[in-house]
Each structure stands twice: as structure tokens, then as C-alpha cells.
Assembly symmetry: C2
Homo-oligomer: 595 residues x 2
């Protein structure tokens, strides 16, 4: 079955929850003359590209994902033509600065486009996603010379970008990076080393690939403070931006993966034939810092991949459940009915729907905060938005991706035996989704970020501010006082209190028992994800009851989905708080030898 | 890494929790002169077969799973030789009656053997598992003539068996079966129809395949009351048990599946060349009834597959976590440490361990109950054991298999990026596990059974009896009064109360709002699974504290794992009870069109 971009749903979240019209008023966006009509037109074009170009390639590319021949990767059939349409449509440049040829549109709008591409074809959409990351890194830290040499062609999509972090011994721990960078007299560097898990590290979609590479200069300090960032293009770039000679970076193998098979994951060898030419980005030894600035954007986008694949799995399951006839209705029917009428199938579909809508809502609200952090006029508003966004990033990345695996798994279950047959398509989403809680920092790495940088560093200030905002929503629910609002309140309040309790626990115990606190970090992340996305469902409920008359069926479904989230998912939160606050000691008690 | 059968762990559960020595005293087992030494010898032999023969084929067979040529399936390299060793070792006949050449040993012992084979190679182990099911069905319902013609060769493993239930339009709903059976003057039947998802429906491991087929006679009543069971051998069997002519049942295709790739899943065509010869099992129109008697055994065994794959995934993750060096220790270290020392890795491993041990304990206790139900002398003891076992079956099947997917997913996560690379092996367990909550009745079908046949039918009598037994354990925890026992009590008691609350809810509401009740059925099953397996962890804790001096490290790990289960997993139960008791209405509120 084919993908249908959920434009109505997206418009609701963007307009009602994330405040698109406010964002369009920021001075930085006034030049683009963005209004509701133009927004709608962009979304429709993006939907068309995703539905008509990318979606039809998703399964065929999974079956025949391309191959490595010599050191060249030939991507799956149809990818090259699809990529040309990506370039022609200007989709790589949606958020990027007009100065370098981008469209300079809000992140909120780009986020919806990212979601659609990833729903339609996760393997394909990874390529522009990685290029986005590389563009962000260069915008953040590169010299004007490098920016002018590379950014226009990357933002147009003519060239793609990669992130080269991981090495066989250096995964989550980048302090172990060994790739060497030796300065040459002309200011350039020679790069030597092996990088693994390089997504789209080699392919035939674009004429050049711009690798961003973490490496160490010979005198660099040990650990993370001795890592620098380099640009290493596949083909050297002449001063006139034309392509020069082939650089000494070569793909030596591609991985045989569980999913996202059509996205080539390369092992890249730098400098086996004399040294790969690299250009320092920013200053020496500040590479990790630059990476981290860029990382928030990349992690956010991977979180959106979670939302995207959940949406896709949900759509497929709903369609199957409406078509497949099996068993009589429990309340009586002459013959078999569509399985969507069976209570547990409905429960599974509502679980998928509730998770998808809730994580989408939180992510779009996050995207709007990032827009505000860049574009707001009031410096105080900027900082509030920035810190809010930064708090959300590990949650959006960690929670949406963990949830996407569960949603994709339910998608299989709705299909019964058919779900296990590859041709049905549900299994591909399950395989594809499974990478999301791993790459761009595993869930544990996100949780470390949530505990360390986002909670402990500011003494829980942002976390507590968010709890206050949730309390405001609770007050609105109490005032609204419909049955649905009161039901939501009865679960949102205990969840918010549990969130506060866990934040307090983290703050109180990090010094005395750091291991116990970090042992609860992923559970804290899950709890925060449920609470904060449940909060968005509470806001949704209030708005839906206000707007009910405008579109009764649509808003009734919104209210029901929100109540379902409250009763079936938010109710997990108090138990998770106990797991965090009590669980650390038993973790510590278990020695490695006892496993 | 290779599989190591957890013999010490198994011995603990069998002896301390499931009461093996009591079972060996039943008159029916006295002939086998089973004692601790003989038990140990059998388990060691089974471990050897699983570790040395089956485990080495697991990955290679996944990569090259065999093929269909014409209507013949050639299984993966090495499977034929392994199957010959299965036959030579007598492993097919462990539990089956000595009368037909089996060993007549306790189900409890056979369960451990089943676990080992499935840990080592799920695809391979499915073949004897299905044969077991077919043997049970014939033992239950077939005439002496059929029994004598087929059982000796099936119990020896010379022939294998299959279960032919599903048709394209008849999956969970067997009332829709259309396969026809036309009586012939000689008392035999001609069978016509298509059966799908037939595990090992065609293969080259044995010289004959005995298909058990659900079909309808021409005058049969509609629905499930018109289904009969037939034996349809691949090769007809002569009176002297030698093989006769090829029967008219042919494999027309095999499925391309997410996992268990080396187990051929066949589409079988019956009667395309004049009719397949079949023999009625038992009486006409009672086929589904016979199937249900057999089904408890098959479902239990699939539950064991869940335990088995969880154990395998756990072992692989532990070994990787002990070897992989990454990042410094949070409490300080000079260089990177093995990742098992990082709190979240430890949390994941303990989650895997706790789930595996808890589901194993519940399943072995269930197996012991089945032995008692067959072999106890006291009729009252027999009935109590039988009803206890029957209550457990949907929980063991549904909960252990759902949990196994989560455990296998954590197994990938522990490996980080490596986990997503197929060659690592963690991904295969994840793919293989995903079928378990689907086949032999999806989790929803198990949950229907739990609500309908196992809770409503007896007015909750068995459920309430189990709650009383848990209360007894609570009293023991209170009396024992160690810190660990009191901590366990603080979570077991609320879980048991929540279980009772949900049982009461089901009993009170089934008449007024059947859809709401069934909408909570899978959540009830999950809640029951956590509570009942948590109860086994509580019993474990008490025993481990008693025996602590005998093997301090082993029992300390048992106590820690039990406490971890209580704090991190049992704490989910009260929230699940709210989901069941409140969630039904919002499920009903959502119409199919609103999705």
C-alpha cells in the first residue's frame, strides 16, 4: 500500500500546537513572505515528491539495494533519478541560508518535509539528512573560504555530505579516535585512518561527496580535547569550484545490515595511497565541540525519522485492518468483519496512532522552539527557546526512536502471519526502525545528555520550568472541566509529579552515587518522553474540544486518541519513577562476573 | 559466539522451583528410574547436541536457508546430518509414551531439552516441535490403527509431522476453513484445498511427512462445528508400515520471511491431481476440539521458544559487553573499560536476564504442573494441577514471546552499531523472535483464551486461587523479613492486588461491555505475566537467601536479579491495571472511519 502524507494532521500540529503563524512573523522569515497558503503549497509539493517519487522505490530498493564494485557504490535502481528530482525541487536547501542558495524557511516547515521523505523511503532520505548535518557543521565552524567553496553545491544538492566519526575502537567514545591529520606546508593536511559506519560514504547519486572527518594532529592532547574536524572531499575542488583530482579516500566495503539496506554504509580508508587531502574546519582540537553544535540538529532529525517510520507503519496497519476480514464481531455479526472492529486490533492501532501523534507533536513544538531560538527578537525569548529546544533534543531523539520500534512491531502484529512475510512490507519498517535508537548516539548516549548536560548542569532549571508549563496546562484542564479534560488531568498530574520527583532524585544523588543515577537515565528519558508528549496530547485535547464544531469527526478522534494516551500510556509513568529512584542500588549490586 | 546451555540455572529452577524430585516419584515415572544423576546426564547430552550440532548451523542456515526445486524443498546445508543425530539420540521421543517407542520422561525434563534446542537453532528446532504437536493430536484422538501405523515412526523421528490449519481466508478464525474432504467407499477421504504457513510442510530431512489437516466434509455444519481432522501422509503407508505411493499433496511455494529463514514455510496444495488420500482422526466434525487439546502443548512449547531465544540473545549480549572496551568508568578509570561496567549496559543486561529467568521459571513450573496433571495419584491434585497448567498456557505463550522480542531488541542495543550488522548475530535473534507472538495463536488469541476460557468460564476460580498462592508467598516474604524480602514484598503485593482487581473487572463487565473487556485482554495478559513470573522471582529470592552459603556468588546474583525484577518490571503492573479498567471505553469510542 502506498504512503499518504498526513497533511491535515501536520497542519493541525504546526498551526495549533507549534504556532506556525507566530514563527512566520519573525523578521528573519518575513523576506520569504511565508503565509498559510504558501506553507500549504510547499507541503503539498513535498508530499507529492515523497508519495510519487520516493515511496515507489522503498521496497524494490530494499530487495536490490545496490552494490560495491571496486571502490564505487552503485545505488539501488531509481535512486539516481529520484535524487535528481530532489535537487531540482530544491529540497536539500529548505532551511539553509539564502546567502548560499537555500530557501531560509522555518525549521518547523522543513521538519514536516523531513518527516514525509523519511516515511516514504528511509534509506533514500538518509542521504539528504546527512548532508544537512554536514552543512550545519560547516555553517557553524568553517572559514568563509570553505563555506564559499562547499556550501552552495551542498545546499543545492549537487554534492552530498557525510559525518565521519566512528572507528572500529571508537564508537560512543570518541576520545578513542585514532585517525591522523598531518599538517602540510601549504596549510592543508594529510589524513590517514579508517572510518566505519559511514552512511552514504560512497555512492553514485552526486558528483562529489564532502566528508567531514574527526582526526587528531600529531601533537594533539589525548582524549576528546585533541580532536579536530576536517573537510575531505572525494574529489578535490578547484578555486573555481570545478572538480579536481580524485582524493585518497576509498570505500573498501559496505555493511550487510538488518535494515535501511538501500543506504550504503561504508568503511572508508583514508590515505592508503599517500594521504587524503583535508582542510581544517575552525580551530585545531575543537572538532568535538563543533560536532556537538551540529549534533542537536542531526539528532533532532533522527527523532523525526522515528516519527516518520511510525506514521508509515501505522498507515499500513490501518489499511490492512480495514481490508482483512476475519472472525465475527464480538457484539454479533452474520459473517466475518474487518479486523479493525476487533478490540485488540483497535487497541494496537490506537497505540500506534497515539505514539505517532504524540511524538510528532513534541518534535514539531521542538522545531518551533529552534526557530524561535534563531529568529526571535527578544533576547530573553531566544534563550528560553534555545534551552527548551536543547532539553527536548535527547528526548525527541531517544523517545521517538524507541517508540518507533515498538510501533513498527505492532504494525507486524496487526498483520498476523502476513506481517512476517517480507513482501507485505510491515517487516521492512520494523527492520528499518531498529537502527534509529542506535545511530547519532544510542538511547543511552541521549540519556547521558539528558542527565548530564540538560539536567545537572543547570541544576534542573529548564526541567523545572517545563514542569511549571505542564502545571499551567493542568490548570486549563481543570478549568475546562469536561469529562475528557478531567480524565486527562487525572493522569497528567501524577506524570508531571513523577517527572519532578525524578529530576529531584537526579539532582540530589548525582554526587553521592553517580552510577545509580546513570543507571536510571534511560528510564528517566522514557518517563520524560511520555510526560512531555502526553502534555502535548493534553494541549491537543483542549484545542480539539474548542474546535469540535468545525470538524466533529476529526476532533472527536483527537480527543479519543488523547484520552487513550492518558489511560494506556501516561499511566506507565509513576511506575517508571519508582524504577529510577529505587533501581540504582540493585544495579550497583550486580558485579560483572555475576552475569 | 557459541551457545552454552545454562545447566546450573536450569537445575536450580527444576529442582528448587518446579519440584523435580517430587515429580520423579509419580508412579508413571518410576519405571524410568529417573533420579538426579540420570536427569543431569540427559541434560548434559541434550546440551552437547544443541551446542555442538545445532548451534554451529544457526547462522550459516540463516544465510543460505535452502530452496524449493520443483515441489521438493532442500533444507540448509548440515540440517540433514543434524536431523539424523536428533533421531539417533532419541530426542523426538523424550516425553512420548514408551508404548510407541518413546522414553516417557517428565514434561519438565523435556522442556529443558526443548529450550536448549531452540536456543541453539530455532529454525531447526521447529521441526521436532511441530512433530510433537502432531504426535499429541494423534495420541489424543486417533484410532488404534492410525496410532500403530504412524506413531512409532513419528516418535522415533523417522517421519515428521505438520499442522495444517491456516488457509488464505482462514487465519485466527478457523471457522472459515474451506478445504474439502470427500468420503470414499473404502472409508478413506479425498482431500482438496490450499493450506498456507505450513512449517516444515515440505523438506528433505525425513522419508515421510505426516500432515494433520483441518477440512470439511460436504454435509458438515457451517463454522467451527463442521471441521474434521485428517491424517494426510506425503507418502501413503502400507499395512507393514513401509512407504507406498506418493500422495497428492504438493508444495507450490515457500515464503520469504523476516526470520526463522531456514525453516521452510510451505504453501501446500491438496488434491490438484485427483485428490489427496486422507484418514479421519476420531469423529467427524470434532477436529477443532482435538486441535485444542493438542494446542495447549504446542502453545506451551512456543512459549519455551520465547525463553530460549531470550537466553540466547542474553548470552550473546553479555559476552560482547564483557569484551567490548569503550569509555571510562563513571567512578574513574585510566582508560576505557568493558562496557558491562556502564550503568545503562548493566541495566539492559539485567532486564534481559530478569525477563529470561522469570519467564523460564514460570514455564518450568507450568511443565511440572502438566506432569502432575497426568501422573498424580490423587484425583484432586490432578485437577488442581490441570487447571493451573491451563491457566498458565496463554500467559506462558503470550508473555514469554512478547518479552522475547523486547529482550532480543535489547540484545541489539547492547551491541550498538555492531548489533545492526547481520554478521554479529544479534539481529538474527531479533528477526527469529518476531514470529513467536504470532504463530500458534497471536498474543490477542492467547489473551482471548485467558479472558474467555480461563477466567470467565470458571468465574475466576483458578485466577483467585493463584492470587491466594501469591499471598502465601507474600506472608513468607514478610516472615523472612530481610531487606530484600521486604523490598520484593513492597512490589509483589500491589501487583497481586492489581491482578485481582483486573480479574474482578473482567468478571463484572464481560456481560455489559464485552468489547471493553476484550480491549483490555492483552494488557491483562501482560499484567498476569509480570505478576506470576514476578511471583516466581519472589520464590527464587526466598530460596536463594536460604541457600546463600552454599554458593554465595550464584545466590547473590539471584537475589539481585529478583530485586531488579521487582523494582523495574513489577512496578509496571499497577499502571497496567488502570489501562485495563479505564481503557475500554475510549477504545469503543473510536470508530473505524476515524482511523
Amino acid at each position: 500500500m502506498s504512503y499518504q502524507a498526513p497533511l491535515k494532521e501536520m497542519a493541525f500540529v504546526m498551526n495549533q500546537l507549534a504556532g506556525l503563524s507566530e514563527i512566520c512573523k519573525y523578521p528573519g522569515f518575513q523576506a520569504s513572505e511565508l503565509d498559510a497558503q504558501m506553507t500549504q503549497a510547499i507541503l503539498e509539493e513535498s508530499a507529492k515528491f515523497s508519495q510519487e517519487v520516493l515511496d515507489p522505490l522503498n521496497w524494490s530498493a530494499d530487495c536490490a539495494p545496490g552494490s560495491l564494485q571496486g571502490d564505487e557504490v552503485f545505488t539501488a535502481k531509481g535512486f539516481k533519478e529520484a535524487y535528481q528530482l530532489l535537487v531540482a525541487g530544491g529540497w536539500q536547501g529548505v532551511v539553509h541560508p539564502q546567502e548560499y542558495g537555500g530557501q531560509g524557511l522555518p525549521k518547523l516547515l522543513a521538519t514536516a518535509c523531513t518527516e514525509m521523505m523519511n516515511s516514504a523511503n528511509l534509506s533514500f532520505a538518509l542521504c539528504p539528512l546527512l548532508t544537512d548535518g554536514a552543512i550545519e557543521a560547516l555553517l557553524t565552524a568553517a572559514s568563509d573560504e570553505i563555506k564559499h567553496s562547499y556550501l552552495p553545491n551542498m545546499i543545492s544538492g549537487k554534492w552530498t555530505g557525510t559525518m565521519n566519526l566512528t572507528e572500529p575502537q571508537a564508537g560512543s567514545d570518541l576520545s578513542l579516535v585514532r585517525t591522523k591529520a598531518i599538517a602540510e606546508p601549504d596549510g592543508r593536511y594529510k589524513i590517514f585512518g579508517t572510518k566505519i559506519y559511514i552512511t552514504y560514504g560512497e555512492h553514485d547519486l552526486a558528483e562529489n561527496i564532502i566528508h567531514l572527518v574527526l582526526a587528531r594532529t600529531p601533537d594533539a592532547p589525548e582524549g576528546v580535547k585533541g580532536i579536530s574536524l576536517f573537510v575531505v572531499p572525494k574529489f578535490l575542488v578547484n578555486p573555481d569550484a570545478s572538480l579536481g583530482e580524485r582524493n585518497d579516500v576509498h570505500c573498501v566495503s559496505i555493511e550487510h545490515k538488518l535494515g535501511i539496506k538501500a543506504s550504503p554504509t561504508a568503511v572508508l580508508q583514508f590515505g592508503d595511497h599517500g594521504g587524503a587531502t583535508g582542510y581544517l574546519v575552525g580551530q585545531e582540537n575543537r572538532g568535538l565541540e563543533y560536532m556537538f553544535i551540529m549534533m542537536n540538529a542531526a539528532r533532532f532529525n533522527v527523532g523525526m525519522q522515528g516519527v516518520a517510520i511510525a506514521e508509515r507503519a501505522y498507515q499500513r496497519a490501518v489499511q490492512y485492518a480495514k481490508e482483512r476480514l476475519q472472525s465475527r464481531d464480538l457484539s454479533g455479526s452474520n459473517g466475518p468483519v474487518a479486523i479493525i472492529h476487533h478490540p485488540d486490533v483497535k487497541r494496537m492501532l490506537l497505540t500506534m496512532r497515539a505514539y505517532t501523534q504524540a511524538t510528532r507533536s513534541l518534535a514539531y513544538v521542538g522545531a518551533a522552539a529552534q526557530d524561535a531560538s534563531h529568529q526571535a527578537v527578544d533576547p530573553q525569548e531566544k534563550i528560553l527557546a534555545q534551552t527548551f529546544f536543547e532539553f527536548l533534543v535527547p528526548i525527541i531523539k531517544g523517545f521517538s526512536t524507541e517508540v518507533s520500534v515498538e510501533v513498527a512491531s505492532l504494525g507486524i502484529q496487526v498483520h498476523g502471519g502476513m506481517g512476517y512475510i517480507e513482501e507485505t512490507g510491515a517487516a521492512q519498517h520494523f527492520r528499518d526502525a531498529r537502527i534509529l535508537p542506535i545511530y547519532e548516539g544510542t538511547t543511552a548516549i541521549q540519556a547521558n545528555d539528558l542527565v548530564g548536560r540538560k539536567t545537572l548542569r543547570d541544576g534542573g532549571a529548564v526541567a523545572k520550568r517545563i514542569a511549571k508549563q505542564i502545571e499551567t496546562t493542568e490548570t486549563q484542564l481543570a478549568t475546562h472541566a469536561s469529562d475528557a479534560a478531567l480524565m486527562m488531568l487525572s493522569h497528567l498530574k501524577p506524570a508531571r509529579l513523577a517527572f519532578e520527583e525524578v529530576v529531584e532524585y537526579v539532582l540530589q544523588n548525582a554526587k553521592q552515587d553517580i552510577k545509580a543515577v546513570f543507571g536510571g537515565s534511560v528510564t528517566y528519558l522514557k518517563l520524560a518522553g511520555l510526560t512531555l508528549s502526553g502534555w502535548q496530547m493534553a494541549r491537543t485535547l483542549l484545542i480539539a474540544e474548542e474546535l469540535a464544531n468545525e470538524d466533529p469527526e476529526f476532533y472527536a478522534a483527537k480527543v479519543t486518541t488523547a484520552i487513550f494516551f492518558a489511560q494506556q500510556l501516561l499511566t506507565q509513568v509513576p511506575g517508571l519513577a519508582v524504577a529510577v529512584t529505587q533501581g540504582g542500588k540493585s544495579l550497583n549490586a550486580m558485579t560483572a562476573d555475576q552475569f
